[in-house]
Symmetry: C2
Subunit: 206 residues, 2 copies
C-alpha cells in the first residue's frame, strides 16, 4: 500500500502489528480516529500507555491487579488450600463467572510452546512449585486449554511436583451442556465415556 | 465483564470504542501488549497520537498529506481539469492502484447520512463548488459508493452545480471482470444492461 502521508503510514504499521489486525483494518481504525474529536485519541493512547506503564501483578497469584495482592487472594473467604492453575486473566474471569469455584488461582502467563519460543522459565511455574513447598496447598486443579501446549504444560508441572504431597486434578472434558451427541467431536465424546462419573455426582451441580 | 484492575478496565473500554472491536477483542489486544516489551506500546501510542495531532490535509483536494499540497495535486503531469470526487483516502488509494486515472481528486471526507448525523456542511462540498466556480475544472467524476448515502451525496452536489459549465460523470456500475452472470445481483446486472457501452469502447481498456 502506498500512503500519501508518512504519519499515516507509521500509525497503520504500528496498529497492524496487533494480533488479528491487518493493514486494511488498521487503516480503517486510524481513519476512524481522524474523524473523531482529538480527545478520543488522547483518551485511547493514555489508557493503553497507563496500563502498560503502571500494571501491577498480584504477588501471590500473578493475576493483573491494582494492588500488590489481588482481591481474590486478599479475600479471607476464599479457600487457599485449593488452587486453580490457569493460563491468563481471561480464564480467571471465565471461572469466576461460573460462581462454582471458591478456591484461589495461579496465573501462569501462558503455555509452554516451543514454536513460539515460550519455555518453562518464561512462565510463573517456579513460584507455583515454591507455593506447594510452603505446604498450604492441598489440591491443584489444572485448567489449561486442551491443546498440545496445554497438555505439555500440565505434564511439565506434574513432573516438577512429583513426590510432593499435593493432590493434582484437571477440569473435566466432556460434552457441553445442551450439546447434541451426534455433533460432538470423537475425541471429546471418547474422553467423556472413559472419564464417566457416578450418576449421583451429576445431580449435585445445578 | 468484571475486571481485576481499573487500569485494565479503562484500556479495554477505550479500545472497544473502535469500530468493529468488541470487549473480548479489546481485552485480547490489550493482553497482547502486556506480553510484549514496553517499547512496543510506546511506539504504538506515539504513532497514533502523532498522526492525530499533526495530520495535514491537502488544501486543494483535502486528502491526508505530509505537506500543504499533496503529491498528486503538486504533480504537474496530473490533469487539473478532470477531478474525481471520492469519499476518503482509501478510495484515492484504490483508484491510484489502477493506474488508469491521470486527473486529480477531491476528497469529501464522508457521505451525506442523516442516520449518522452527517449533513452537507460536514463534508468538503463548499470548496468543491468554489473550485468549479474558479473555472479550471471541465469534468467531475463521481466515484462514491453505490449506496443510498452515496446517491444522495451525488444528487446534492449535482443540484449545487446546476447551471455551471462543468461536465458531470459517474463511474460505471456493472458486472465485475471475471464474474459469472448467473451469480450477479439483479440491480447490478440491470444497470449494466441499461448502461451498455458500444463494443468498440470495451476494446480500449486492457
Amino acid at each position: 500500500m502506498d500512503f500519501s502521508s508518512k504519519l499515516l503510514e507509521n500509525a497503520v504499521a504500528e496498529v497492524s502489528q496487533l494480533p488479528g489486525i491487518g493493514k486494511r483494518t488498521a487503516l480503517r481504525l486510524v481513519l476512524h480516529l481522524l474523524k473523531q474529536p482529538k480527545e478520543r485519541t488522547t483518551y485511547l493512547t493514555a489508557a493503553i500507555q497507563a496500563l502498560r506503564d503502571d500494571v501491577v501483578f498480584c504477588k501471590k497469584c500473578h493475576n493483573i491487579s491494582d494492588s500488590e495482592v489481588c482481591e481474590i487472594c486478599a479475600n479471607p473467604k476464599r479457600d487457599r488450600s485449593v488452587v486453580c492453575v490457569v493460563e491468563d486473566l481471561r480464564d480467571v474471569m471465565a471461572i469466576e463467572n461460573t460462581g462454582q469455584f471458591q478456591g484461589t488461582y495461579h496465573v501462569l502467563g501462558g503455555k509452554i510452546s516451543p514454536m513460539e519460543g515460550i519455555g518453562p522459565n518464561d512462565l510463573n511455574i517456579r513460584s507455583l512449585v515454591q507455593k506447594v513447598d510452603e505446604g498450604e496447598i492441598q489440591e491443584l486443579i489444572f485448567a489449561l486449554s486442551a491443546s498440545m501446549e496445554g497438555d505439555t504444560t500440565n505434564f511439565y508441572i506434574y513432573r516438577q511436583l512429583q513426590g510432593k504431597s499435593v493432590k493434582l486434578a484437571t477440569i473435566a472434558r466432556g460434552i457441553s451442556v445442551g450439546d447434541e451427541l451426534e455433533y460432538a467431536d470423537e475425541v471429546t465424546l471418547g474422553r467423556s465415556i472413559v472419564n464417566r462419573i457416578p450418576f449421583e455426582d451429576s445431580l449435585k451441580t445445578s
